[in-house]
């Protein structure tokens, strides 16, 4: 058999797709550093090194060539998505455990690139939040609110040696996320207004600092769509799912359920909408299916945030929708040219 097409356009490769994803994450990363300090940079580099190491090991064990698969960029994308989903000062071993499950289990045990039914980064996240719930709530405080802003070396030793800077206690560095604050407050029978009044973590729409990160993810996400790497259906449906579900609950009981704009302004919502739910491998491939996938994931995110046992629901909602993909795809096959119109 001859090769089907003899000519190819320049710059079409999996590496290009993955590099563009990383490039479009950059605005979010930069704002993250600006608002929360150096921790995230260390975590991103550490996660990337782990991802490449585990990927190389898995490829070696499976007898695959290293070069084409290590340079495809997919492992680094997984690493960044996981690193951006966990607290930026998370200890080194947590990232290690997360990456082993993301790359080793969710990706390679399922057959490697293109074969995984679950988003690898979200599997890593799920393992971590189930196994180490306390560490997973210790997020960096926004620099504007922190009692102490750890510099690069202090962040490094905190992550790798678990040593705090002299004379600084942990509470000066970390804080609960806005969602976590809401959750804890509600469990103590406070109303949303009371919770908002009692904490400085809340910003204009979402959280101090984090709402800017969310905005930067949105900018990067729109760029990703403009580069035609992600389809519009998934992020739009995902955010619509959050907005509609949260809007209904908020309308139902304003004192108990967080406002839709607040929910959308969480960085996890924007990261999920544009960078995680849009993972082509584990997502739906039909236009209608993507709308269903996004809406379902958005709906479940809010349901888990409001009624579940975890402060955030993006990871679990996307994993649950990953499960439904074969069914969604089979049900939403688009019309083929020359067949009867619906």
């Amino acid at each position: 058999m001859t090769a089907s097409t003899h000519t190819l356009p320049p710059n079409t490769s999996v590496t290009r797709v993955m590099t563009l994803v990383l490039a479009c994450l950059m605005p979010g990363v930069l704002v993250y550093v600006w608002q929360f300090g150096w921790g995230i940079v260390i975590n991103l580099v550490w996660a990337s090194l782990l991802a490449l190491g585990i990927e190389a090991l898995a490829l070696r064990l499976r007898g695959y060539p290293l070069k084409p698969f290590l340079t495809d960029g997919s492992a680094v994308v997984t690493a960044w998505l996981l690193a951006l989903s966990i607290p930026p000062l998370a200890p080194w071993w947590m990232t290690l455990v997360g990456m082993i499950f993301a790359i080793g289990v969710a990706k390679h045990l399922y057959g490697g690139l293109g074969q995984n039914i679950f988003n690898p980064a979200m599997i890593g996240f799920a393992v971590l939040i189930i196994s180490f719930p306390v560490q997973m709530t210790q997020w960096s405080a926004p620099l504007s609110l922190a009692g102490h802003a750890p510099n690069f070396t202090e962040s490094l030793s905190l992550i790798f040696a678990d040593t705090l800077p002299d004379g600084v206690n942990l509470d000066a560095i970390i804080s609960a996320t806005p969602l976590d604050t809401v959750r804890t407050g509600l469990m103590q029978q406070h109303t949303l207004d009371e919770i908002h009044g009692a904490s400085r973590i809340f910003g204009q729409i979402g959280g101090v600092g984090s709402e800017w990160v969310a905005a930067a993810y949105l900018v990067g996400g729109i760029a990703l769509w403009a580069f035609r790497i992600v389809p519009w259906q998934v992020p739009v449906a995902f955010l619509a799912g959050i907005w509609l579900t949260a809007g209904f609950l908020h309308w139902f009981d304003t004192g108990r359920y967080a406002a839709p704009w607040f929910q959308i302004a969480m960085p996890s919502s924007m990261l999920g909408a544009f960078f995680i739910a849009t993972d082509p491998v584990s997502g739906s491939t039909t236009p209608k299916g993507r709308l269903i996938f996004g809406l379902g994931a958005g709906f479940l995110t809010v349901i888990i945030r409001a009624f579940g046992g975890y402060p955030d629901g993006v990871a679990f909602s996307i994993l649950l929708m990953n499960l439904c993909v074969p069914l969604i795809d089979a049900w939403t096959q688009p019309r083929v040219f020359g067949t009867a119109k619906d």
């Binding site: 058999m1 001859t2 090769a3 089907s4 097409t5 003899h6 000519t7 190819l8 356009p9 079409t12 490769s13 999996v14 290009r16 797709v17 084409p68 698969f69 495809d72 997919s74 490697g112 690139l113 293109g114 074969q115 035609r228 790497i229 389809p231 082509p280 491998v281 997502g283 491939t285 039909t286 795809d329 096959q333 688009p334 019309r335 083929v336 040219f337 020359g338 067949t339």
Partner: protein
């Protein structure tokens, strides 16, 4: 101005037309040896009607159309037949095929040509003439034109002249329209007459402004009611279903032809060949071939059918660093040997080099990005078809409309994982065809076996009846049997009859009762022929795709 419609999907690869389109069509040269394949069209190959040692004249028929879906083959120049046998041909499989070898004498002496008074002749007679002059679609699918010019039960309202030429590098239709627009339109006029079409539209992609102007001028000069439409340049805009939609807005139903919706599409080259055939009596013995890519002088050549492609490349100036030849364009063409001769389907010989056509990067796994689905003009889900083809899940592949794939290669072109998707679809299609063939053969064998069982049972029954009748007469002569014995016998016979009838009911569902073995053989033969035709019909879903 006609409102143009947009077909789904498509891509815009680098055009590379300027390399070969600037120079006029080069006059034909006569190679020392011509290799003329008998299978140059879709359907049954032509039957050789000359012997080794025969002298032949230019334009003399050397292969006769064999059956309805077939067309004749002619000597492209005068000379002596020196061989009838297998020779390398242009086919993706790379297998040789039956060719007639002619050692040319250099005189290029024509046989007697007879122009045809097409307006006064019966259309059926004209079609027979078209078949005997070897006219087949020159857009690439080489479907016998005599069949496409027969409207049968389906009236044709629109005739489309396909001057799309959407494949990169190829410019043979562009040059043809620039230089011979009048004859193209005369051919279209004959086609319109035979089809009874009210509307004639010529669709030309707007990257060929000179061709559009030339066609418009020719239409005015001849005073023909023909629309010249400039279509947006987008591959595969010259595909039969695509050009039909662009120009008429009509969507060709899945698994059907554009004729089913009253539209017939002919390549402009075919119209030209038809005009030469009808108005001058010239059979199809040459065509315009774009020789381009890694050659010194890329140009269009009027080329005798049977000229080895390597010789054609030599004429255009072979260069160091040639890595191979493609017949057709870079999207749908396939690799050929330089010994393979130019045939009616050869619109382009594209010479490869490592710079122009670097080896494909390594194939990576599919990441389901659905770029392929976005560019698919058939609106298929190529990424799903790929999984099904890979998993040999052919039933599912058919369910997902595998056979609506026109193999245009847009999906392979955009795939970031560099998966040769079309190869997977061709593999799946050929496997399905092979299985259907096998199943059909098994069906015939089973029917034969069942018929044999039925026959044996019937013979047994007849024998029993004969014996019973005999016994009856015996009984009449000597009624010595007791009633008990009679009853037992009757019972036996009744049982045998019931058995035979039950078997017959289960075995013979059709009107094949009481047939002689000869009749059965005949039926089997007819069935086999039907199967062949069905298969041909399947293969020719796109009779006139000029991509």
């Amino acid at each position: 101005m006609r409102t143009l419609h947009r077909f789904p999907g498509g891509i815009h690869p680098e055009e590379h037309k300027a390399e070969s389109s600037a120079r006029p069509i080069h006059a034909p040269f006569i190679p020392n040896r011509l290799f003329i394949p008998m299978r140059q069209h879709i359907g049954q190959p032509a039957k050789p009607i000359v012997k080794v040692g025969d002298k032949v004249l230019k334009g003399q028929m050397i292969g006769q159309a064999d059956g309805y879906v077939s067309t004749a083959v002619h000597a492209s120049s005068s000379g002596v037949v020196t061989g009838i046998g297998l020779h390398a041909v242009a086919h993706p499989s790379g297998l040789p095929d039956l060719c007639i070898t002619i050692d040319t004498d250099g005189h290029d002496t024509w046989t007697e040509l007879q122009p045809l008074d097409w307006q006064s002749l019966d259309p059926a007679a004209v079609r027979g003439y078209v078949r005997d002059l070897g006219i087949a679609g020159l857009g690439g699918a080489v479907f016998p034109s005599s069949i496409k010019l027969d409207p049968k039960n389906q009236p044709i309202h629109t005739l489309i002249l396909n001057g799309g030429e959407c494949e990169p590098w190829i410019t043979c239709d562009d040059r043809l329209m620039r230089e011979r627009a009048e004859e193209v339109l005369q051919g279209a006029r004959i086609m319109q007459h035979l089809l009874g079409a009210q509307t004639v539209i010529a669709g030309i992609e707007d990257n060929k402004p000179e061709a559009i102007a030339a066609m418009q001028a020719a239409a005015e000069k001849l005073g023909l009611q023909i629309e010249i439409a400039a279509m947006p340049t987008r591959y595969p805009g010259g595909g039969g279903k695509q050009i039909t939609q662009t120009l008429t807005g009509l969507e060709t139903p899945s698994g059907k032809l554009s004729t089913d919706i009253g539209v017939q599409v002919f390549n402009v080259g075919t119209a030209y060949a038809l005009a030469r055939a009808i108005l001058h009596g010239e059979p199809l013995i040459s065509r315009i071939v774009t020789v381009t890519g890694h050659v010194l002088g890329p140009q269009n050549y009027e080329t005798l059918i049977g000229t080895p492609m390597g010789e054609l490349v030599m004429h255009a100036g072979e260069r160091e660093g040639t890595t191979g030849l493609i017949m057709g364009g870079p999207m749908m063409g396939f690799d050929v040997q330089p010994e393979a001769p130019v045939v009616k389907a050869t619109n382009c010989v594209l010479v490869k080099s490592a710079e122009l056509f670097p080896p494909k990067p390594r194939e990576l796994p599919c990441i389901r990005c659905t770029e392929c689905a976005r560019v698919c003009p058939a609106q298929l889900q190529p990424q799903e078809l790929y999984w099904f083809a890979r998993a040999k899940n052919f039933g599912k592949a058919q369910e997902y409309n595998l056979f609506d794939c026109i193999e245009c290669g847009c999906c392979s072109y955009v795939c970031p994982s560099h998966i040769p998707l079309v190869d997977y679809y061709r593999f799946a299609k050929s496997e399905i065809w092979a299985r259907e063939k096998e199943k059909h053969a098994a069906d015939i064998a089973r029917e034969r076996h069942e018929f044999r069982l039925f026959r044996l049972e019937r013979e047994k029954k007849e024998k029993a009846e004969r014996l019973a009748a005999k016994a009856q007469t015996k009984k009449a002569e000597a009624p010595t049997l007791t009633t008990d014995e009679q009853d037992a016998k009757k019972k036996l016979i009744a049982e045998a009859l019931a058995r035979a009838q039950a078997k017959k009911a289960g075995v013979a569902p059709k009107n094949t009762d009481n047939l002689t073995p000869e009749q059965c053989a005949e039926i089997a033969e007819i069935e086999a022929r039907r199967a062949r035709i069905r298969e041909m019909a399947k293969k020719t879903i796109e009779p006139e795709k000029h991509l």
